[in-house]
């Protein structure tokens, strides 16, 4: 019988440690610098310029005209980072979070700036407007 050419490699590998990472028993392989993970959005910083809506290739971002902010559904994000690069006020950044599996595509973890938050901000803006109106009347 012919000796298979891989035999010596197979035999020597039998005595080596396995080169695997037994996740979840261990930590996942660390992410490199500049890793593109889940998107973070800073509502406060956002000026509502809509540039991110224009560059996003995946339809993740929708403009909310009442409050001049944007809202995200990351279920569609392709992690291209174009919105981060284009944002003039650095309201967007990519985190190193990548364990994003879920059983609901509209899971809260995949959404930024949801309906109730929008309502809340709307109320706040209206109150501010009223306060300003009252102030200017006083003068």
């Amino acid at each position: 019988m012919r000796i298979p050419p891989t035999l010596s490699a197979v035999l020597s590998n039998l005595f080596k440690k396995p080169a695997t990472n037994p996740f979840p028993a261990s930590d996942p392989v660390p992410t490199p610098e500049g890793f593109r993970g889940k998107l973070n959005y800073d509502v406060e910083k956002c000026v509502g310029c809509r540039l991110c809506v224009m560059v996003c290739p995946a339809g993740v971002i929708e403009y909310v005209p009442e409050v001049r902010k944007v809202t995200f559904w990351l279920g569609r994000c392709v992690f291209c980072q174009q919105c981060v690069d284009v944002c003039p006020v650095k309201a967007l950044e990519m985190s190193d979070e990548f364990l994003l599996a879920t059983d609901d595509k509209y899971n809260d973890n995949l959404r930024w700036f949801k309906e109730d938050e929008i309502e809340e901000l709307k109320k706040k803006l209206e109150e501010q407007k009223k306060a300003k109106g009252a102030e200017s009347q006083k003068k």
């Binding site: 339809g59 929708e62 909310v64 809202t71 559904w73 509209y106 959404r111 309906e115």
Partner: protein, 174 residues
Amino acid sequence: MNVDEFVKAFGERFPEAEIRVSENKQPHPKRRVWVEIDREKFHDAMKFVKELDPKAQFSIIIGMDAGDRLLAKYHLEMFWEEGGSLSLVIGTSVPKDDPKLPTVTDIFPSALPYERENQEFLGLFFEGIPDPRRLFLPDDFPEGIYPLRLDETGIKPEMVKNAGHPYRMGGEKK
């Protein structure tokens, strides 16, 4: 054969053809020959190209809806064995009410998939095509609709589906 020799030889054989040479610097300097020729002369022109270089590499056919006409551009890479190949774009056009071109599969057999593609996507038909079946579109796709047409035979608005953004869907409910 270099660009100038090709332009001369082709221009002598087809004096009515429009020939233009473009030059780009990026990403690397390259001169490219563009030919525009009537459909009556098109098949002869392709035959002539093959005679000039029997090993010419047929790259692709790009079809386009230009209002009342359909354009077709055939890209070929020639004389590549001589190093620094010659890039040729030879184009022709047909009126929409008679969208027919002669097949060139008898000269360049590898043109077949591109001709089949243009038939189903643009409604540009090739006379004498040896295999007219659809290539990419599904079998249950409606007849008489050509997705790349910009006119009424193109995709209908009701065929376009958008899988919906949760903000939009919530917005519509309100």
